[in-house]
């Protein structure tokens, strides 16, 4: 699966769908591995995104503090 099209919102939406599907037993065991692998990709992507955003925030705020 290519990452190019991923963005956080759509990744989270997809994750929510997967979680819902798993929660409501809408996923067959046959598909489960695939879905879980996909979840892992999505969660990893999201975490990276959060981390980079967090870094951005820290960086910016550091800059701002120095500007004082």
């Amino acid at each position: 699966m290519s990452k190019e099209k991923l963005n956080y919102e759509s990744a989270v939406a997809e994750l929510e769908q997967i979680v819902k599907d798993i929660e409501y037993g809408e996923i067959s065991v046959d598909d489960l591995s695939e879905k879980i692998k996909r979840s892992a990709v999505l969660i990893k992507f999201c975490k990276q995104k959060l981390k980079s955003t967090e870094e951005d925030v820290a960086e910016i705020l550091k800059d701002m503090s120095e500007d004082k």
């Binding site: 989270v12 994750l15 798993i22 996923i27 065991v29 969660i43 975490k47 959060l50 925030v57």
Partner: protein
Amino acid sequence: MRTKLVSLFFQNMSEIPSKYYTLSKVAASLQSVIRREYSQYYWIKAEISRLNFYPKSGHCYPDLVEKDHAKVLAQMRAIIWSRDYFRINADFVKKTGRALDDGMEILFKAKLEYSPTHGFSLMIVDVSAEFVLGKMALDKKLTLERLKTEGLYYRNKEVKFPVLPQRIAIISVDTSKGFHDFINIIDNNTRGYKFFWMLFPALLQGDGAVQSIIQQLQQIKSVQHHFDMVAIIRGGGGDVGLSCYDHYDLSSEVANFPIPVISGIGHSTNETLVEMVAHYNPITPTDLAYFLQQKFDNLAVGIEEIQQAILAYSKDSLLEKNNQLSDFSRIINSETLSIMEYQANRLSRFGHIVQHSSLLLLEKQRSKLDLFIYNMRANSSRLILEGPQKVVSLENRLKQSVVSLVHKNEKDIKHFEEKIQLMKPENLLKKGYSLTLFAGKPISSTNSLKEGDILQTQLFEGKIESKITKIRKK
């Protein structure tokens, strides 16, 4: 007015009367009449058109006038001697907040005096501060009502105060202490805020102040885009000369001003109209400076708060997102495990059912086979037991029937034997029966006999021969 008098004087120059008095004679006459007729002190109401205070001598020579609108009804000079003036003015200032000044309508106690050299004058010995006070209050009240009626009162207040009140048009004078206090504070604030200000010099008190300030306001209006606000700053002038700020023209100009006007006039008495209609009135220039500084402080704090909020909310948001992802992980983990467990149990259950049911099924079949065996054994035995019984019964029947058959035949034979025994001829003859023979043959009818035939008769013992004597046919 002076110009008019001068022209009249030149018009009358050609006519020279024959009889005339010397001026001194006229003056002496007037002086005596006046001394006689106007010996008392009177309370008189008039307007001071000019106060004419001479600081060196300390005397005042006010020009008094009474007008009906623009028309002068009367005018007269007056004198307030130095000693009176200081007493009167001090009291006046104390009570009204303003010094005796040009254009002021006053009620004063005076004595009419005439001096041949100086002419008429009213020697003022007292001025009613209460009268002026009442007059001022009335004027102020009327002006206030007018401002309200005209919808001006709140107009400047309604002008949006700039978020960043950084560029200030200052109406003041360079010599004003208030002005210097003000710029000193804003220019040298410890936080490094930068204000831009420009001084628009104006008179700050007295009647001239109205026009002067209005003029500068108009100047400012022409370049209003350069400014965020106007500050009218006065200071160190005490409470004197503030009545200009109750003036309608100035008040309405301020009220109507397109950008906020802040007043820092600095006094301790009642708020003037200008201050009332001004956007904000911190009263003293220092307060105004601190007000602005406070505004900047607030802005700085606001920005700081925004910064903190962005930081905090971003962190919250990111934390929340992180938690959401963790939740996802956790749910996926737990749900998957529970799916696994459920499926594993299901498989186990399948296994057990297959086992249990299969064994049950096999057991049932086994019982069925056992039942077959049981039935077979029972029924075979029965079948096998029935056989010998039948055979034995046949055997018995056979025995009996054979015996009875033999017996019957023996009986039959015996019967024959007996019958034949009975029929032996010797046995008949013994009983007396005899056998009649003719020609050696036994006869049983008369048919072949005729009389005279010889018959032989066989008896049990011996034979007889006899002749037939008579034959009787049957």
